[in-house]
Symmetry: C2
Subunit: 221 residues, 2 copies
């Protein structure tokens, strides 16, 4: 086994993560999840980014929008500005219940089914929105759980979960992406579903801060 | 919070589990996953069982059949007889990579989104097919991971994962179901996708053994 599954949202972080995986593994499978997110455009970007790298792209449909509970899947809940998010609850309303837990579960299952040795996820615990499932302690716990869940574990192997961006600042991620030649111009970060990024949601503000601190012009239109 | 999410396959174990949940919680939401299983009939049974209890039933589509790797989702792989399964690898070919990991992840996410305090799963580590994700150590590890993944954990609460059947024999499960008045006549166990149960796959054999040891006639047609 030497392949890798990469969880690809179509955003900056997961795209840099894909660039890391492509540099080290063959084959690479990009896994995107259509979970009913209002920012549908990120799915199109994910497809374009996977095509750019010539890797297999699996778009898994999983409609969490019927469940409610998040501004990212419920159009009746406003996306807060970064300022409002900072003043709001510790876990903002853009949190999607169980998202990374579900994504990682799907990714390790796909890795096992396809005989891939690794899963890459672009979580980042420094410049992030405060979601509980981006924290290092969650990732570490998931590693132990996945090791018990899978057949490969019974057979004495493991699916390795790799988080190349976990301790990087957003500026470091931008620099890493530029260094790897990642197609940052194709990435989409905005939580809102508009035609152009809003510039004031948490995700837009973190992205702008990253490019500014890296002293790199954002190549996305 | 006092509601519960029950993972309902439409089989014997998950139906007894639903009966347990209905006896203790209100509301109860039954969650079934259409993962491309060849025994489609279990999904119809799950719907009938949920209707019998008058609980909300969510059927989540999640096509794992495209991933391959399991006799339950790949019609080109034969379902082994119980005898063949016993003589085969420790984890039989009917194992679906990551299934309970994915189901539990979806269930805790749904519980959080809907404000339910519990998740019920009918795993059983005694009379079972040897799947790694039915073992008590997997469930225990998942509890810790879910506690780190969810917002409720950050807020000092938890989604409680309940496994009422974990240490029961199949005969005990039959007795429990009868005692609770569960509609065992609606349940479906056979791994094959036929019109009537095959009687010789691992799941049919375990079911027959359970009813026989409980000295109860199987009410399913």
């Amino acid at each position: 086994m030497s392949g890798a599954v990469v969880i690809l949202s179509g955003g900056l972080d997961s795209t840099v993560c894909l660039a890391e995986a492509v540099a080290a593994h063959e084959p690479v499978i990009a896994l995107s999840v259509d979970y009913g997110q209002r920012h549908r455009i990120e799915l199109e970007r994910a497809a374009s980014i996977a095509a750019r790298y010539g890797v297999e792209h699996i778009e898994q449909r999983l409609d969490l929008s019927a469940w409610g509970g998040s501004a990212l899947t419920d159009a009746s809940i406003d996306i807060p500005t970064a300022t409002d998010a900072a003043e709001g609850p510790a876990v903002p309303i853009t949190y999607v219940p169980g998202r990374n837990l579900i994504f990682l579960s799907l990714a390790v299952a796909l890795a096992e089914a396809r005989g891939c040795e690794s899963v890459f996820i672009g979580v980042n615990a420094l410049d992030y929105s405060g979601y509980p499932d981006c924290r290092p302690e969650f990732i570490e716990s998931f590693r132990g759980t996945a090791a018990l869940a899978l057949r490969v574990a019974v057979e004495g192997a493991a699916v390795v979960i790799t988080t190349p961006l976990l301790d990087l600042s957003k500026a470091d991620i931008v620099r890493r992406g530029v260094g790897l030649g990642a197609p940052l111009e194709l990435t989409w970060s905005c939580y809102r579903g508009g035609v152009t990024p809003c510039g004031n949601c948490d995700s837009c503000v973190l992205r702008a801060k990253g490019f500014a601190e890296a002293n790199v012009a954002d190549p996305a239109p």
